[in-house]
Each structure stands twice: as C-alpha cells, then as structure tokens.
C-alpha cells in the first residue's frame, strides 16, 4: 500500500525548521585514528581491560562481519558508508577519574544537557529517575545506584558490568541477538564501546524508572551502544532511553544493539524517544540510525513492551521485536515515527509467537511531512506450537503536505491454524478543514498541526511514562515546525 497526499497549497510551503539540539560541546577527546581491522578490535578491548573471552567474542564477530554484506532491502536510500573512514573509539578525557557526584561532572557536559532541556539534577529531584548518561562512548554519570543496590538491582554501564558482573554478561550477551544476526549487529559486536546494563533480581519491582541519555558528539565517531536488560523471575522494570545529537555536516553512523530478556512472570517496559539530528532541509548531515532491538519472553507469562517515539535521524532502520517463547507471554509494540524534510524511516516490529496462547499487539503511527518517506515493516510469525496465539495490528499513517509518502509492508506467516490475527490500516492527511477549524478557534497553523499530530499519536504517547510523554509531545511539535506554511 502506497499513498501520497494530494496537492494542498496551505501545507506544501516552507519546511524550514532549525534543530534545537544543534550545538557541539568542546570536550577534549581521547580518540583512535579512523579505520577498522583486528587491531582496532584488540585496541578497544584492551582500552576497556576486558577479559579474554570477550575479546574472542568480539574477534569472532569481526571475522563474521568481514564476510557479510550491508543490507539494502529497506526502503531507504543513502550513500555508501566507508567503514574505514570511521573512528571506533572516543572517550571523554575525564573518564580516568570518574565523577562521584554531579559537582564533579564536567560543567561543559552539564551545560550540554541543560541546552537540551534535560537538566540531570532537576530530573533526579523531580522525577526520581536514575540516569546513566552516555556521552559519546563512555558512561560518565550514574545516579541512584545505591538506592537500587539496596533492592539488588544492578544498573550500570556495560563496561562496569563486564568488570563487576562478568558471569551475568557472559550468560546473556548475544543470547537474544546473535552476533551474526545481521551486518550491523556483527559490526556492533566487534567494536561496541559502551552502553547500559540492567539486572533485576527475582521478585523485585524496580523502584524507579531507569533512563539513559545518549549523545553522539565527536566528529567522525561511530557510536556503537550495547544494552542488555534482564528481568529475572517475577521482576519488573521500566527503562527509558532518549537521545539527541549536535549538528554535523557529515553523516554519522549509529548501530546499536539492545537485548531484553524476561524470565517467568517478569515484565520489561522499554521506552525510547529518539531525536538525533535529522540533517538539514536537504537531508545533509543527519545521523544514520541502524538499530537492532529484540526482546525474548523466555518464561511463561512474561511480557515485553516496546514504546518508541522516533523523530530524529536522516535514515532510520529499526525493528524492535519480541520472541514470545514462554506460554502465555505477551509482546507489545507502540510506535510513533515522524519524518519531515528529507528524512527516511523504515521501521516496524516482528512478533514471533512460539509459546501457547501468546499474545501480541502492534500499534504503529507514522507521520510524514515535507519529502519525508516512511515505511512500516511488520512481521507476525506464528510457530507450529503456538496454540491459540493472537495478534492485533493497527497501522495508521498521517500525511502532511503533498510530497511525502507512507508505505505499509506487512509480513504474516501462520503455521498453527488456531491462531487469530487482526490487521487494521488507515492513511489520512491533515485536512484543510481541521486546520481551518483550529485556526478559527485562535490556534496558529503550527499549533494546529502540533495538536492534530499529538491527537493522532495519542494512543502511543499514552504508553509512555508521564514525564517522557510530555517531552515527546513537545518534540513532535518542534519536529514539525515549518511543516506548514
């Protein structure tokens, strides 16, 4: 299904929006020269004082990667990436003596967050959120660690986890997303620099939302995050990931891997607000976001929900998925993706039903403006043993203007006749009548678009934790500034 909005004079003009987070922080970088070979992998591993098994794991991934081809099946178009021109290691200089409190954090860094409207101390105080801020490749600030430690929750940077909880890392790393899963996973596995690690012990309900802010900063630095979240039997955790990056002329590659594992009766809620630099009006300079996110509902009655608000990046390639292995396990995917100007997004989810009576829900809301191109790619697979499995998919597209496009590519594979699948899809455009109605009531055209878009996305925004929902609403408005003229 492909639709393009008809001509609409009121909303074709002026797609001119300035990127709010477009600034560069001057912090001295400890940076490796560009290029990628086995020595680069060894260098990174050594820098991080990793155990031998992890180095071997990386090298194995690297060797596999060398034999793989970059995937080109997605409906996105970008110039070839020169993997030898990228530097695979950068760390803020102050990493050597890690700050113990906010007072010790590089003021420049705090300022950066300030500009983004996410002052750490305020968030800590107001929302009780534990923040593990990833600045470039190394985690520089972690809070609420002690309170979490009291209940046995482990929330730390990936490198710390490797040093302090190697048995857990070794047990789970690559179990949901094998190194050979795809080209970008293999690359990430070889060169990942840092990320976050979460472990919730049996029966524990994590007492606060866990959150990470990612930023890409150093010029020509690829960012390869690795996130691993494990909820043990009967545990619950809500994890928030948000990101934004400064303005750049060169495209920057981001290839993250996120693995979630939910044991029996456990629940993981993973929310993302993604606001990386999308490039200018012509698409020049934006982030390439090639992410692999997958959750395994390993135990019976476990549940994983992905909620995402994607407004950034020049190119997005992302399909958070659930493997519903445990009987009665539940997978959910709630997504708002917005592409304005020359942004391209190919995103969706995969729900793989293996266990009995497994249920999944997919709610995808795509918004295209300017020349933005948006593809929903969703797969539902019902395995032979998935007696009584059910899926509900709802896929709505909203078009703003006449030059954008929305595409829906559903894949369904059913191997058990008792499964029930429902699929609904709609495409609409912001009507001149809606805009006029709002303006007649005193709203500016931009406020009207923002209101209508937020209404369209409401079902998904409602799934976000409170403080994130407000931010996401603001973001949708900001991302569409200048989408009508």
């Amino acid at each position: 299904m492909t639709e393009t909005a008809p001509q609409d004079a009121a909303i074709t003009e002026a797609l001119s929006r300035k990127y709010d987070a477009g600034f560069i922080t001057e912090i001295e970088q400890d940076q490796a020269p560009p290029g990628l070979d086995e020595n680069t992998v060894r260098f990174i591993s050594a820098k991080k004082k990793e155990p031998e098994w992890l180095l071997e794991w990386r090298l194995e991934a690297f060797r596999r990667w060398q034999k793989m081809k970059e995937p080109r099946w997605a409906k996105v178009d970008y110039p070839a990436i020169d993997y030898q021109a990228i530097s695979y290691w950068a760390a803020p200089k102050s990493d050597a003596d890690r700050p113990k409190s906010l007072d010790e954090v590089d003021p420049k860094l705090l300022e950066t967050y300030e500009k983004l409207g996410i002052p750490l101390h305020e968030r800590e105080a107001l929302a009780g959120v534990a923040v593990d801020a990833v600045f470039d490749s190394v985690s520089v600030h972690t809070s609420f660690r002690e309170r979490l430690a009291e209940v046995g929750v482990i929330f730390c940077s990936f490198s710390e986890a490797v040093q302090e909880h190697p048995e857990l890392v070794r047990k789970y790393l690559g179990k949901v997303v094998p190194t050979t899963d795809n080209f970008f996973v293999a690359l990430n596995s070889a060169v990942f620099s840092d990320g976050s690690f979460v472990y919730i012990p049996p029966g524990v309900r994590c007492p606060m939302e866990l959150s990470t802010y990612f930023r890409i900063n150093a010029a020509n630095t690829g960012q390869f995050e690795r996130t691993l979240v494990i909820a043990d039997r009967g545990a619950y955790v809500s994890y928030l990931e948000g990101c934004t990056a400064p303005q750049r002329d060169e495209n920057q590659l981001h290839a993250a891997v996120v693995e979630l594992i939910a044991h029996e009766d456990a629940e993981i809620k993973y929310s993302t607000v993604q606001n990386w630099y999308p490039g200018d009006e012509t698409g020049k300079g934006g982030i390439y976001n090639f992410v692999t996110k997958r959750g395994l509902c390993d135990g019976d009655r476990s549940k994983i929900s992905w909620t995402q608000v994607e407004t950034g990046s020049a190119v997005t390639w992302k399909y958070p998925s659930c493997i519903l292995k445990g009987d009665d396990s539940v997978g959910e995917f709630y997504s708002v993706a917005l592409s304005n100007h020359a942004q391209q997004a190919d995103t969706g989810t995969k729900m793989i039903h293996l266990g009995k009576r497994t249920r999944s829900t997919i709610i995808s809301k795509g918004i295209s403006a300017g020349r933005g191109q948006q593809t929903y790619r969703g797969g539902v697979r019902i395995g032979r043993g998935a007696e009584g499995a059910r899926n509900y998919t709802q896929c709505d597209s909203l078009l703003i203007g006449s030059e954008c496009g929305a595409h829906t590519v559903p894949y369904v594979e059913v191997r058990n006749p008792t499964a029930q699948l429902e699929h609904e899809a709609t495409t609409s455009k912001i009507g001149e009548d809606q805009l006029f109605y709002c303006r007649q009531r005193g709203l500016s055209e931009e406020d009207a678009v923002s209101l209508i878009v937020n209404g369209f996305a409401k079902q998904v925004l409602d799934e976000l934790p409170m403080e994130f929902a407000v931010e996401a609403q603001k973001l949708l408005g900001v991302s569409l500034e200048g989408a009508v003229g």
Binding site: F436, Y437, Q440, R441, G442, L451, G455, A457
Partner: protein
C-alpha cells in the same frame, strides 16, 4: 460592529457572493435566511478567512478594522467566532485540551495571561452547565463520534467559552431535537449583550421564536435581496422563496 460592503467572493473560480452589503450594529442579532446554495456558508467562511475563498471586490470592516487583512487566527483573537454548519472532528484531542489551547492562544494574542488548569476548569464547568453539555462529552475527542446534535451543542459550548464579540451561527439549529433547540437557544440568549453581535444563519422560523432577531435578511444568489423585522421570517415560512426570487430578478 460589522460592516460588509459590496462583497464579491469566488470559490474554485466560481462567483458565489455578488455584491453583498450588510451591517450589524453592536448588540444586535441578525438572521440570514435563504435557499440552499445561495451563499450563506460561503459568507461565513469569507468572514472567518478560510483559504480558497477569494474576495474579488468589496470590503469588510469589523470594529473599525479591515477584517479581510487578518489571518483566521487573528480574526478569532479579535472576537470573530464561527459555529460551523459541519463541525470538524479532531481524533485523539480532548475537547477540553482543544479549548484550553484555543482560549490561551487567543488570550496570548491579546496580551492577556494564560489561564491555569484550575481557572480553566472552573470556567469550563460553568459554561458546560449553560448548554447542558455532559462532562463525558467535554472529555471526549473534539467532535469525534459525536451525534449531529451533540456537535452543534458543542459549538455553542465553545462559543460560550471564547466569549466572542461577533458570533456567526451557521445552521446551528439543524439536527437539534426540540429540547436541544431550547437549550442551545437559551445558551445563545445568555450570551446576548450590548457588546456582542450575532449573525444567525437558519432555514427555519422556529429557531427565531427562541432567538428573536432584530433584523432578518434574505440572501439569494449571493446578494441580500430583502431585509425586515422578524415578521419577514414568518412571511417566508408561509410563502417560500419564490416571491423574493422574483423580486430579485425584477
């Protein structure tokens, strides 16, 4: 308050208004009647500034200012309100959220302080009572899945909230049941005042039993062909438009 002189307007290249002249002094209620397709809704859209409604000749002065030079939202802020013949739905946006955004953007444009949530809710409850709008409808998405009558009642609720100086009601009575007609009319009458003018577009005399107009105009073929007191509406009801049409042709 409102002065329309020799107004000509086109839609999609087609002449709809052809030399319309009309004056509504402050505090008065004027009714506009006229056959289907005569240009009543077109007039309301031209006054509200809808895109695609091109004024080719004439002028509209509102409170001494050139109304046609303003954007739709500026007109709203300066006190023009249109109750739509076909109110538009905005899925996912609650009625209250919509109105609060509207009210505050109007206040902002006028240089007034925005209302906080508590002040706004107090006002909303008060005004909802006026048109007997249920709290459930206030919370639902704007006109989404509303019945025809509920939409019309909601328009009057919005009018009560925004307290315009010129209210244009385009067939607010159509689709209303007998009780709703009375309630909506009461709501409208409660808003009548020396500093507020109204243009009430309707097909039926019965509305004018409830909202008694100062003047009744008949619009035919894009022009006002007759004006008179409320007796004119009764006359039209009895005789239909044939006579005024004939007069207009003569």
């Amino acid at each position: 308050m409102l002065k329309i002189e020799n107004l000509h307007a086109k839609v999609d290249g087609k002449d709809i208004l052809r030399g319309l002249t009309l004056e509504v002094p402050a505090g008065e209620v004027h009714a506009i009647m006229g056959p289907n397709g005569s240009g009543k809704s077109t007039l309301s859209y031209v006054l509200a500034g809808r895109d695609g409604y091109e004024v080719t000749e004439g002028s509209v002065t509102f409170q001494g200012e050139d109304l046609l030079a303003m954007d739709p939202e500026e007109r709203a802020a300066s006190g023009v309100f249109l109750a739509f013949q076909y109110p538009v739905a905005i899925p996912g946006v609650s009625n209250l959220q919509f109105l609060r955004t509207a009210l505050n953007s109007i206040r902002k444009q006028k240089g007034e302080d925005e209302l906080n949530a508590a002040q706004f809710m107090k006002l909303a409850r008060e005004k909802a009572k006026l048109v007997e709008l249920s709290p459930e409808l206030m919370k639902r998405a704007v006109n989404h899945g509303f019945s025809g009558g509920e939409k019309k009642r909601n328009e009057i609720f919005q009018m009560a909230m925004l307290e315009p100086s010129l209210a244009i009601l385009d067939e607010t009575d159509s689709g209303l049941d007998i009780d709703a007609l009375r309630i909506v009319s009461q709501g409208v009458n409660a808003l009548r005042g020396t500093d507020r003018s109204m243009l009430v577009i309707t097909h039926y005399q019965r509305l004018l039993d409830h909202i008694v107009p100062d003047v009744v105009h008949v619009l035919v073929n894009g022009r006002i062909v007759r004006s008179g007191d409320k007796g004119l509406a009764l006359e039209l009801e009895k005789e239909g438009y044939e006579k005024v049409r004939a007069e207009a042709r003569a």
